[in-house]
């Protein structure tokens, strides 16, 4: 077992991005059964990145290769988008970002992968279908397992920022949830969601994992739905808190921000990393989900509090040198603009208030995804 969890070395600070995307029809913009038809088209021609089925027929997952630079990552995401949009047009289907579909009913969802779903469904009941939510996962390469665990715990302080910046699921099952990211509420319901246990040595983590698997609670790392989890077979940590943004440009900017944060954390080690960091963890995370950039972030070590938007502005100043080193000034300018002017959730609420319907909102989301 320990052998399977051996931490593979990877080039530090390299990036890989996965996006779960919505497939909707052009009539009422509800989620639709299109993944296998779409895959049949995209598989015909070689294309950038990977396009894969997900658990339901109305979801598709795209993933990039490994990149050390933001511009190459963005270029690949744009190529994947072009492939997807061209295929979707031929099938009269629309592709959209967003952390949750605003009005789909989970009881209507059709399942792509039956055996796996049956298994998950048996264990989790309605949670399994409610889990039709769409996230962005960002992988960051780490030199070894100890580095990965250090980064994982050091990053936890900044997850509320990422949640607030990416939040794009204010509407869920036909209502305004009052949350900026309602998607994470669906994730938190799972028993193994939340944070990884505090351990800074890979050997300690292995011991923890072996206890969990010996007691039959988990079989593999996949059973943990943590906000950040190590991915030993890739040699990465995987940040999983982000809603899928409405554009690939924002997805790439978020990945660049994570890359810069990681470099800063690794090189300068600015914060003490300890279990006490987690005292305010669920409070901060709730604030970010509920209020987004206007939410409050509490630092339990210094007992200081500020708005998440301010916290982002301060962090951006602190990491400026590293942004220059990584050629990430443009994407970080994008992040600063989001912190100042509002996230996707805000844009969605404004569009809906503008008089259209939720169907119209989804249509506009799909227009934004095209880059229109």
């Amino acid at each position: 077992m320990a052998h399977a969890l051996e931490f593979r070395q990877s080039a530090p600070l390299t990036l890989g991005v996965e996006l779960e995307l919505q497939l909707v029809n052009t009539r009422d913009c509800d989620l639709t059964r299109a993944a296998s038809d779409l895959l049949a088209l995209t598989e015909k021609k070689p294309h950038a990145g990977e396009i894969k089925p997900e658990i339901t027929e109305s979801m598709i997952e795209v993933s990039t290769g490994i990149h050390s630079r933001h511009d190459a990552l963005l270029a690949e995401l744009q190529q994947i988008r072009a492939t997807l949009v061209a295929a979707a047009d031929r099938l009269n289907v629309r592709v959209a970002g967003g952390g949750a579909h605003p009005f789909q009913h989970w009881s209507d969802r059709r399942i792509f992968d039956r055996p796996r779903f049956q298994h998950v469904s048996q264990i989790y009941g309605y949670l399994a279908k409610q889990f039709t939510v769409f996230g962005q996962h960002i992988h960051v390469g780490c030199a070894d397992g100890d580095d990965a665990l250090y980064l994982l715990h050091a990053m936890s302080r900044y997850l509320p920022q990422l949640i607030a910046l990416s939040a794009s699921s204010p509407f869920y099952q036909g209502v305004d949830t009052a949350f900026e990211s309602s998607r994470l509420n669906a994730v938190f319901a799972f028993p193994l969601a939340g944070r990884a246990p505090f351990a800074l040595r890979w050997s300690e983590f292995l011991a923890y994992f072996e206890r969990m698997s010996a007691s039959g609670i988990v079989e593999s790392m996949k059973d943990f739905y943590w906000d950040v989890r190590p991915k030993p077979e890739f040699g990465t940590i995987e940040v999983r808190v982000c809603d899928t943004p409405l554009t690939v440009e924002r997805a790439a900017a978020l990945a660049a921000y994570v890359q810069v944060l990681c470099r800063w954390l690794l090189v300068e080690r600015p914060n003490r990393v300890c279990e006490e960091n987690y005292l305010a963890y669920t409070y901060n995370r709730f604030q970010a989900c509920r209020f987004g950039l206007e939410g409050e972030i509490v630092d339990p070590l210094t007992a200081t509090r500020s708005s998440i938007a301010q916290d982002i502005a301060l962090t951006l100043e602190a990491v400026a040198v590293h942004a220059r080193e990584l050629d990430c000034e443009a994407p970080l300018e994008h992040i600063a603009r989001v912190a100042r002017e509002g996230n996707d959730a805000r844009w969605m609420r404004e569009k809906f208030a503008d008089g259209g319907s939720l169907a119209d909102l989804v249509w506009q989301q799909s227009e934004r995804f095209r880059g229109a």
Binding site: T26, R90, N92, S357, A359
Partner: protein, 403 residues
């Protein structure tokens, strides 16, 4: 006056509401039995109930009552065509021109095939052409009913709905061009020859446009009030059916056009979530049951050969058209062959076209009816079964439906 004057008379008057209720109850129960015991879509039960209760078998519902149901039948078909129109996205034809090519090719090939085989069994060319033109039409009610009941989604479903609505339009235009040509053989009234088809086509489209505009304007005025939207649109749709009939325009073109335009011009998607809900379901039950009851089974012996020939040629033409352009339009050959099966049903629109022809040329209409009605009778179960099979095999039906 009888001493028992206080008792009601039996049977009730032909135009009375109870006949609808009876038909609905029997059809609905038959539908549920079919679903529960045979695991087939309810529409088979509705059709069976209609045939059994109709004048041909038990005569519980006789020809007089059926004639009285004509108005409701028109509304039911109108609502079906309108809903089909709502599901058609003309923009798709622009984004995927091969789809338009597929549609034109399958309609043309099936027309050609039907025409040639009917000629080969010694039918008069004009009659063969008319029968072939009517045969282009595919069944909107079956397509819609199966899609709704099985909550079907996917490429086979979407293309079935699109091709079906286009086929109804092609059949309508082809039949009316042939009728104009007939006019010219029998008379020299130039005005009637030219003006009638033009009136039908452009009048119908103009009416559809007017209703679509009115609908969208009212929806904008009403805002997000679901109940008010439902009642308003329903009233407008029923009115459109009435006006189309009163102005002697084409019900098919008006209602399909109304649905398509209401969707196409709905730039703010106010109309996107509109659904006829349970009422739409009731109208579908009535449409299937009444249509089945009207089918004249006595025509079958005389028309069976021609009807079967027509159907074989029709399927061959449609399948060839759909398969030939499948790869270009982004569909696997497997799914294309399933799609061709979904184009087998033929009923309501074909019957209307026969009816229209008979109204203009009674003698010709009778012969035509023998062939087309025989074909429809043979397809009534077979066509829907083929479409159902295709949607299930394509993996586009919801397997948990009805439980």
């Amino acid at each position: 006056m009888s001493e028992l004057f206080f008792l009601p008379s039996w049977p009730p008057a032909a135009d009375a509401l109870p006949w609808y209720a009876l038909l609905l109850v029997v059809a609905a129960i038959a539908g549920e039995l079919v679903l529960r015991w045979l695991h087939l879509p309810r529409l088979f039960g509705w059709v069976a109930a209609g045939i059994v209760m109709g004048p041909q078998i038990t005569g519980l519902i006789d020809a007089e009552i059926l004639a009285g149901m004509r108005g409701v039948l028109d509304v039911a078909l109108g609502v079906v065509l309108f809903q089909l129109g709502q599901r058609v996205d003309l923009g798709w034809l622009r984004r995927n021109p091969w789809l338009l090519a597929t549609s034109v090719l399958e309609a043309a090939l099936s027309f050609g095939a039907m025409f040639l085989v009917l000629l080969a069994i010694d039918m008069r060319p004009l009659l063969a052409a008319l029968a072939a033109a009517i045969g282009i039409a595919t069944g909107p009610a079956v397509a819609l009913s199966l899609t709704r009941e099985m909550r079907a989604q996917g490429q086979v479903t979407e293309r079935m709905l699109l091709l079906t609505s286009l086929n109804c339009v092609y059949a309508f235009i082809a039949v009316n061009m042939l009728l104009a040509w007939l006019h010219q053989e029998y008379s020299d009234e130039v005005l009637a020859i030219v003006a009638h088809p033009l009136y039908l086509i452009f009048g119908s489209l103009a009416l559809a446009l007017g209703f679509a505009g009115a609908t969208l304007a009212l929806l904008a005025l009403l805002g997000r009030r679901i109940e008010a939207q439902f009642i308003t649109v329903l009233a407008l749709v029923v009115t459109a059916v009435y006006v189309a009939t009163a102005l002697k325009l084409s019900l098919v073109l008006v209602m399909l056009g109304y649905g398509v335009m209401a969707r196409a011009f709905d730039t703010r998607r106010r109309f996107a979530a509109y659904s006829f809900g349970r009422l739409g379901q009731i109208l579908l039950v009535l449409l299937f049951a009444i249509t089945a009851a009207t089918l004249d089974l006595d025509l079958l012996p005389a028309g069976a050969l021609a009807g079967a020939t027509l159907l074989a040629a029709r399927y061959a033409g449609k399948a060839m058209g759909v398969l030939a352009l499948a790869p270009a339009s982004g569909l696997s050959l497997r799914k294309a062959s399933l799609l061709s099966l979904t184009l087998m049903p033929m009923s309501g629109v074909a019957l209307i076209l026969v009816h229209d022809t008979t109204a203009l040329f009674p003698g010709l209409g009778a012969t035509l009816a023998t062939i087309i009605v025989s074909a429809i009778v043979m397809l009534e179960v077979l066509g829907a079964a083929a479409a159902y099979f295709a949607l299930v095999r394509a993996g586009e039906a919801d397997e948990t439906r009805g439980r």
